[in-house]
Amino acid sequence: MIRDITLGQYFPAESKVHELDARTKIIITFLYIIETFVVNNFLGFLVLAIGLAIVIGISHVPPKFIFRGLKVIIVIIIFTFVLNMFMMDGRVLWHWKFLTITYEGLYRAFFVALRLILLIIGTSMLTLSTKPIELTDGFEKLLSPLSKVGVPSGEIALMMSIALRFIPTLMEETDKIIKAQQARGADFESGNIIKRAKSLIPILIPLFISSFRIAQDLALAMEARCYHGGKSRTRMNQIAFKKVDLIAAIIVLIFFTLATMTRFIDIWHFA
């Protein structure tokens, strides 16, 4: 069962979105995050939402997977929604004791909730359509100009990919330790929260020790394979921008420009 875990939330599929260079997707996602804060009206969000819907459509990622990401932050969305609804001054719509809902409050609440939802769905498209290893490669390439000012981009990327590589190994290790401790009579299932938290100690300490041992072994193996930092290191996979990246960038920029322009036309109609 532990063998089947997927790393990150990558959804394997063959699509134009998956095909894009990881750097293109990272930059687009970055601009998209900025864009959701630049947009200040519902029409702008509509433009972004249409764009996002098109991306989802092309990507072949089932909406089920996309909304799974929302589940995690649903509490935050509801919390900000309620807070905004009651906290704004303005034209009163409904009043009961100390609770007041204003027109402006309701508008603001919907606005912020929508912004959050668009933000989460948009950014999760990056991780859904890009393999973790491609992501780290992309980050390495994007950070590489910074290596001139002393940012160890190669080392950072290698660290990230080693961390990803060892998630399943450490999961297996945890599984082994749990079974070994259970065989010695450890009880992880009964008692209150504090007791259960305490019962994790006999798992965590051996896990800690064994992860140090693994790190030691790995360091030896890497040394034996001539690893000596990022200097003069080449890479087998040369990532290169393709035509599809250029087309995607142009389309995305058109959408972002449209969304930004709504700032100037829409102000008098809505808010």
């Binding site: 790995l218 030896l220 890497m222 040394e223 034996a224 890479r235 087998m236 996979n237």
Partner: protein, 314 residues
């Protein structure tokens, strides 16, 4: 001059004894394998911590020629793993010298030349795979050597085919079996195009099937001219070599061909080793007065010997 020359190498390590309080653990790095090795030497007292200097290797000299297949055997803590790690400069000997193709491991600027000539495969396949994609992992060594991408691609494909794992090249290592993972680790060594590969108990954690396959690959590599140094606990594996070096308490106590070594079964057992199963059988039969020849190691030889015995009787 031999390809690998080990001259009078001693490897000392410090170990704090029971009444210590945690100090000295620093010097214990990487010795888990050799902790019990050697004879306790000088005892120096620092405060209430007693530091014992142990010798994992004690005056070892060994020559290994190009293209040889030698296996190193010995009980736990006999220093065989430490010896292997001094060959490519992972451990530096306290005394003595190690040279590979005329380059001394003590010359730090040549260390990467040495390591690209002498690759190493370790015991635990899980802990030596760096990447979460098989072919990326194999590319790790050549990438470190700064080889151009097109050439790396070629080497990776060749290495994958050499270990018969080409169809698994895009898989994640954790989805593979132990034997398959070890083959990936071997491919990672092959891709560096070394002249020698040191295998440090490569089959210890594998099932019998994986073990057979890995040994087959090792023999295949040797037949292509790669020098092989195989450290093992399995005598059946050791007998495949041209030469067996037996280590005990940090010293080389025998350096013989498999036939020579196992003909003297008593001394083999004395150095804490087991005879291969066929040799054990032959020995027991000999003890019961059946006149089998000395130095039987494989089932083929055993069969021949039995047949010749029956024909002699007729």
């Amino acid at each position: 001059m031999a390809f690998i020359e080990i001259r009078d190498v001693t490897f000392e390590y410090k170990m704090a004894t029971e009444n210590s309080d945690g100090a000295g653990s620093k010097s214990n790095v990487g010795k888990s394998d050799t902790g019990k090795a050697g004879s306790a030497g000088n005892q120096g007292k620092t405060g209430n911590i007693t530091e014992v200097v142990g010798k994992a290797l004690d005056g070892v000299s060994l020559d290994i020629e190009k293209g040889e297949f030698i296996s190193i055997v010995g009980r736990n803590g006999s220093g065989k793993s430490t010896l292997a790690k001094t060959i490519n400069g992972i451990f530096m000997p306290s005394h003595g010298t190690v040279s590979v193709d005329g380059m001394l491991t003590s010359e730090r600027e040549k260390i990467f030349d040495i390591r690209s000539k002498v690759a190493m495969v370790f015991q635990n396949p899980d802990n030596q795979i760096v990447s979460s994609i098989v072919e990326d992992d194999i590319a790790f060594g050549p990438e470190n050597l700064g080889i151009p991408p097109v050439e790396i691609r070629k080497r990776v494909d060749l290495a994958l085919k050499a270990v018969d794992m080409y169809e698994h090249r895009t898989k994640a290592p954790h989805t593979l079996s132990g034997g398959q993972k070890q083959r990936i680790a071997i491919a990672g060594a092959i891709a560096m195009m070394p002249e020698c590969i040191v295998f440090d108990e490569p089959t210890a954690m594998l099932d019998p099937m994986g073990r057979t396959k890995v040994l087959e690959i090792i023999k295949n590599l040797n037949s292509k001219g790669i020098t092989v140094i195989l450290i093992t606990h399995f005598m059946e594996e050791a007998t495949q070599a041209d030469r067996i070096v037996v280590m005990d308490r940090g010293k080389i106590c025998k350096d013989l061909t498999p036939k020579e070594l196992f003909s003297d079964s008593a001394s083999v057992i004395a150095s804490g080793l087991e005879l291969p199963i066929v040799a054990q059988l032959a020995r027991r039969l000999r003890e019961r007065g059946i006149d089998l020849e000395q130095g039987i190691l494989t089932s083929d030889e055993f069969a021949k010997s039995i047949i010749s015995l029956s024909t002699r009787r007729d």
